[in-house]
């Protein structure tokens, strides 16, 4: 277990290093106008040079990368240029982290419970109406773009149930729809994995033996089938984490949740380069850390996974 953890941690660190360097270097390809804010036209050529010099943007790329890493170690992600001029990126982002985290974790939890329950009920009613209904749901959610069906949920479900259209941190009812919306895609994923797993498992010989012994169906389910159900969970958890991150960017913006996803959309529209860079780095790190924790959690639950090398088979 320790060996696996260390190996996996090293892998995550290398990934993080590559991603941070790649993002930083890619951002250097952008035209420098993005670093001036509104005052670009008012400055003379030499004043622009001076600003760029001060920001270190005229240095060769490896010097820039070096000082960027030095800044990172001090917890410095640069300063915003347009969104909130001259305020450090981290200071802008920090108050928004709790919202994103809370929504993301709640959404993953909802998806896990609802998705597995849906998968079990599909397998139980295989080929009958309920199975077909949920299959329809899975097909719909997987085929229709999230950017489309979430829009309709916001538009019509709020009207139907009298829920607030936009997020308001003082109204608990405004939490419901965004959290549910974030979990819809993952629910479908879990349900599919779980259904496939259950159908395969119920056809196996040891289940037939248990039935022949006269064990009640519920006992077979609880004692045999469900005990191994973390296999489909483990297989889908990473994808579910990434999907929640992706969804949160759109959903936070849609419901005006003051989280990081909405902020990323804002700063992209306003072309605030340091903010975009900082947020992209934060989101990639969350993805890497999330997958690391997810793999670790699954290895804890299921000792077979580390033998099967989950990272290669995923």
């Amino acid at each position: 277990m320790l060996k696996y953890t260390v190996r996996r941690l090293l892998q995550s660190l290398v990934t993080l290093l590559i991603v941070v360097s790649a993002v930083f270097l890619l951002m250097r390809l952008l035209p420098v106008e993005g670093y001036f804010g509104d005052g670009y036209d008012k400055l003379s050529e030499s004043q622009r040079e001076a600003v760029l010099q001060k920001m270190g943007l005229l240095d060769p790329w490896y010097v820039q990368l070096g000082s960027f890493y030095a800044g990172l170690l001090r917890g410095d992600l640069g300063v915003s240029t347009i969104y909130r001029q001259d305020v450090p990126v981290l200071e802008v982002v920090a108050p928004r982290i709790p919202y994103s985290m809370r929504f993301g974790l709640v959404a993953i939890a909802i998806a896990l419970v609802a998705g597995l329950a849906m998968g079990v009920s599909m397998a139980k009613h295989k080929g009958r109406a309920l199975d077909k209904l949920w299959t329809g749901y899975v097909v719909f959610v997987s085929a229709v773009p999230l950017a489309v069906y979430l829009l309709f949920i916001q538009l019509y479900v709020t009207e139907l149930f009298g829920l607030p259209l936009l997020f308001d941190k003082y109204r608990p009812s405004s939490w419901i729809l965004p959290a549910l919306s974030m979990s819809l895609g993952s629910i479908a994923g879990y349900a599919m994995w779980m259904r496939r797993y259950m159908v395969d498992e119920l056809n196996k010989d040891y289940i037939r033996l248990a039935m022949a012994k006269g064990l009640p169906r519920s006992a077979i389910m609880v004692r045999h089938v469900m005990r191994n159900a973390y296999v489909p969970m483990a297989q889908y958890l990473p994808a579910s984490i990434l999907m929640t991150i992706s969804g949160s960017i759109y959903i936070e913006s849609l419901y005006s949740i003051p989280g990081m996803g909405g902020l990323l959309v804002d700063v992209i529209q306003r072309q605030d380069n340091p903010m975009v860079q900082g947020l992209v780095l934060i989101f990639s790190s969350i993805g890497i850390v999330g997958l690391f924790l997810g793999d670790l959690l699954m290895a804890l639950f299921d000792p077979r996974i580390k033998l099967a090398k989950s990272e290669a088979s995923r």
Partner: protein, 332 residues
């Protein structure tokens, strides 16, 4: 006893004959590849594609969606040639008042109504579908080629397996959304940017699936047997490997088209989509979204999304149905 003989040097032909108990020595010669005996094992008249077609026809739901999709696709590309169609970008002006036909409700003149600046929604939807499908088809084709090539190398060349797997782990750790947003942000929004960004992210999944399939079937006994019998590599690839890959390749490619359309809508929403002058499904949904708060204008959101959903659902269902039908394990 064996060792005694071995140490005594090469066996004489008599000794071999004695040890073989009168067996025919020619049985121990390496076999020559013989195409006609290659067919002997198979039963009467199995044809991969005929079996696939038979499996597909049995799936009633898939046939309905096939009809729907073919109709939609044909109509999308034929529509501009039909008589009486309006230009998708022309702003229509009321000759009586000299004002633009803004937000005209669906009717005889404008079948799907007009948008906020007086453009014909009907022709915009089909023009937008053409744009989005074009992106989808280009990206799908590139993904297919790159994914198969990369996946084949990854699965076949054992020495590269470790390196590529590590590389895959790095790439797979970053949310696709973030990569897409970053690439579209750095390259200025345009048709080309969108295609490049989506091609850059999409092939990874297919490569992984192809690699896994190849690793699984590469060393199966029947492949080993084929190699021992001197079957040409070409025949091994086409008869032994490819039928198992067709299913997975077609599924991934079919799913990449609804995926591409979805990304286009998403990128347009955050302001990194195609220029507004080009009608596309993303631009139409986005225009519809901006006015969705007035119930009487919602048709401008409804019509594009209905067409979009029909296309994406058809591709999804058909991809899955075809993948089931083309999987040789499901053939009788």
């Amino acid at each position: 006893m064996m060792r005694d003989r071995m140490s005594a040097g090469p066996m004489s032909p008599e000794a071999i004959r004695a040890a073989a108990d009168g067996l025919d020595a020619s049985l121990f010669e390496p076999a020559e590849f013989d195409a006609s005996s290659g067919e002997r094992g198979g039963y009467s008249n199995y044809s991969y594609w005929r079996s696939t077609a038979r499996g597909f026809i049995k799936n009633r739901v898939a046939l309905v969606f096939l009809a729907l999709l073919v109709t939609l696709l044909v109509f999308t590309f034929v529509q501009p040639l039909l008589p009486g169609q309006k230009s998708p970008t022309k702003i229509h002006i009321d000759p009586a008042t000299g004002m633009q036909y803004r937000n005209v409700e669906p009717g005889a003149e404008f079948w799907f109504g007009t948008n906020t600046i007086g453009q014909d929604l009907w022709s915009r939807i089909w023009s937008g579908t053409r744009t989005s499908l074009l992106i989808g088809l280009i990206v799908g084709a590139v993904e297919m080629v790159v994914g198969i090539a990369f996946g084949a190398v990854w699965g076949y060349v054992r020495r590269l397996d470790g390196v590529i797997t590590e590389l895959y782990n790095v790439l797979n750790n970053i949310p696709t959304t973030i990569v897409l947003m970053l690439l579209s942000y750095i390259l200025r929004p345009s048709f080309r940017t969108m295609v490049i960004a989506m091609c850059a992210t999409g092939w990874l999944g297919l490569a992984r699936f192809v690699r896994n399939q190849i690793v699984i079937i590469r060393d199966r006994e029947y492949n080993l047997a084929s190699r021992c019998l001197g079957t040409p590599t070409r025949r091994i690839i086409f008869k032994n490997l490819l039928p198992y890959l067709v299913s997975v390749i077609m599924l991934q490619t079919a799913l990449s088209i609804p995926g591409t359309i979805g990304w286009e809508v998403f990128l347009t929403y955050i302001g990194l989509g195609l220029p507004v002058s080009i009608p596309s499904l993303g631009n139409l949904v986005n225009e519809g979204r901006q006015i969705m708060m007035s119930p009487e204008l919602r048709y401008q959101l409804l019509f594009p999304t209905v067409v979009l959903s029909m296309i994406t659902i058809s591709f999804y269902v058909l991809g899955n149905a075809f993948s089931d039908a083309s999987d040789p394990r499901n053939h009788v």
